[in-house]
Amino acid sequence: MKNKAGDLISYLMIVLAGIILMILLIGITGNSISDALSGFIRGIAGSSYSVAEVFVKATPLILTGLGVSVAFKSGFVNIGAEGQLYMGAVTITALALAFPNLPKGILMPLCLLGGFLAGGVWSLIPGILKAKMGISEVINTIMFNYIALGIVGILLQTVLKDPNNYFPVSATLTDSAGLSILIPGTRLHSGILIAVICAILIDILIFKTSLGFRLRAVGMNPRACLCSGISVGKHIIISSMISGGLAGIAGVCEIAGLHHKLIEGISPGYGYLAIIVALLGGNNPFGVILAAIGIATLQVGSLSMQRAANVPSAISSIILGAIVLMLMARKTIFKKLIDKKEEQG
């Protein structure tokens, strides 16, 4: 019998511990806690710009987090979302620079498709290696992150480099390869809509189709699948492809909606955060959206706290890490609470 109350209390305690940790850390810096907290609140809810900023930050997290959770479902641990995101970003840059005269209605879908394929292929290779040869994907996907970063660096110094710029950046892309701004005066672009649509599609795919059922089955019990004629390898390959493709779309949205040109370091570790997003979201598409918004809130808020009260924004990584660690230990820490309730229920 599942015990909802004990679970809920334990989660609330962890959130509370996170908040206490935050206040403690602010206290250590010697700054006024009320100043810092009001800076935090203003950063996430002070104006339409700041609210929009949270969603801007959440967009790539939703997409990469969705990708990681799809892969998780079939037992593929994808730590390579970072590299896949960069491959998507490279693809849109190359396409937009190659076909600057195409109308938006053709170019943008082309870029999204290209980004999906590029990210997908980047994750497909470790996927095939795992499915066909049994090579652990954990190390391979990390390797592919570094290789992707290297490729971006090489391209930005050679073919994609803007000849008029001293630094390794690409030329600014045409407007037809841009996502429109949703609310004037903010940076919120339609990438968030793409992310939500992707979440709905993935939800349908995973929970409403037979392919989704097979993907989940492969993740839960590969041996049973083998015995009942579901090809384990094939489904790992499919899910790794979808997973990488979503990360690739995240890269496309970052370029088309935010940067409008390829630079090194467009992703401050979204690919690694994505794993935490997927974990906090319980590998459920709508949970992923919530988790991504939560993490984005924490990050945007702490950046604003840094500006307002001089509290280092590194605080957000500490709290995030600590919360995940507590979640991992939850069943042991709150053993009494969860077990006792179970007996009563």
């Binding site: 850390l25 250590i28 810096t29 641990v77 730590i79 290696l129 040869m133 049994g134 090579i135 652990s136 954990v138 190390i139 391979n140 990390i142 390797m143 592919f144 570094y146 290789i147 970063l149 290297g150 490729i151 660096g153 090489i154 110094q157 050679t158 690694y272 955060l273 794993i275 935490i276 974990l279 280092p312 590194a314 605080i315 957000s316 990584s317 500490i318 709290i319 995030l320 890490g321 600590a322 995940v324 660690l325 991992m328 230990a329 069943k331 042991t332």
Partner: protein
């Protein structure tokens, strides 16, 4: 002729310097993985080692206290990983990644608190280079391999110690048993949990030492994200070297070589993007994984928490 030989010797010495932290961390990680605990948090261990060794050396002015505290900090981080993965049976990959976030935030936070935002990085003492007695006198080889600092000599020593333990002592068999078949080891009266905790602690100690190499031997200062992904590269050396101490040393040297070539080219102003060389070790790692497929050397219980009454 002698000029060329001298250049080669200097070049080899540079490779050794690059390879030292990777080997140290790799040896620890390989030990931990042999007993079945995969720690993706090497980066976190190294960062905390680098930070605490720097700050202690800065305050006391004694590099050996710094090294000691670096190792201690590494052990604390690895200890958290061990408790979560062994006692709470959590997913080792996720705990490792979360620790990386935690450590990155913690070290930059504490550094900013102590030193504030400034453009001038505070400096600390570094360990001196010295010629190893007798061996350092060998022409060329002495210059390449035996004119280094204490970290490098420690690394040589540790490679042999681990080699000896794995191949020649009963301990080696015990560690392998715990990694390959924990319930059999348990039946034979080996305390699986204690062995795994021990391996995690050694991993933390060596990872912390590797971290303090950056601050105390290479740079003499600390900055945010000083390890810059070296922890993940240490994981590569473990895979490339197939968890064998000599293999780890060789693969770390290979990665060091790619690094050294890259620096050399940059100083020579050759118009090839430096990334073309820096990605070579990663591509090599992928190919090594590819060609070693099928005859996997992974311990069978790698990444799986051990539960006594679970069959």
């Amino acid at each position: 002729m002698s000029q060329i030989l001298l250049t080669i010797a200097t070049f080899l010495a540079a490779c050794i310097r690059m390879a030292t932290p990777l080997t140290l961390a790799g040896l620890g990680e390989a030990f931990s993985e042999r007993t079945g605990v995969m720690n993706l948090g090497v980066e976190a261990i190294m960062l905390c080692g680098a930070f605490s060794s720097f700050i202690v050396t800065f305050w006391t002015g004694n590099v050996y206290w710094g090294m000691l505290c670096g190792m201690l900090a590494g052990m604390i981080i690895s200890g958290i990983h061990a408790i979560l993965c062994i006692k709470c049976k959590a997913n080792q990959t996720i705990v490792g990644l979360a620790l990386n976030f935690f450590a990155l935030g913690l070290t930059s936070f504490l550094f900013l608190i102590v030193f504030g935002q400034s453009t001038i990085l505070p400096q600390c003492k570094t360990v001196p280079n010295f010629e190893f007695p007798v061996l350092g006198k060998i022409p060329l080889l002495g210059k390449a391999f035996f004119t280094h600092n204490i970290f490098v000599y420690l690394m040589y020593l540790l490679v042999f110690i681990f080699l000896f333990i794995y191949k020649k002592t009963e301990w080696g068999v015990i560690f392998t048993a715990v990694g390959e078949h924990p319930s059999a080891a348990d039946t034979a009266g080996i305390n699986v949990f204690r062995i795994r905790y021990l391996a995690c602690m050694v991993n933390g100690l060596l990872g912390g030492l590797a971290g303090s190499y950056f601050t105390l031997a290479q740079l003499g200062f600390f900055m945010e994200d000083i390890t810059a992904g070296k922890g993940y590269i240490a994981l590569v050396t473990v895979i490339l070297g197939r968890r064998n101490p000599l293999g780890i040393l060789c693969s770390a040297l290979l990665i060091g070589l790619a690094d050294a070539v890259q620096f050399q080219l940059q100083t020579m102003n050759i118009p090839i993007p430096s990334q073309a060389f820096s990605i070579l070790p990663y591509i090599a790692a992928v190919f090594v994984l590819l060609f070693s497929a099928g005859k996997s050397s992974d311990p069978s219980a790698l990444g799986i928490p051990y539960e006594r009454d679970n069959r």
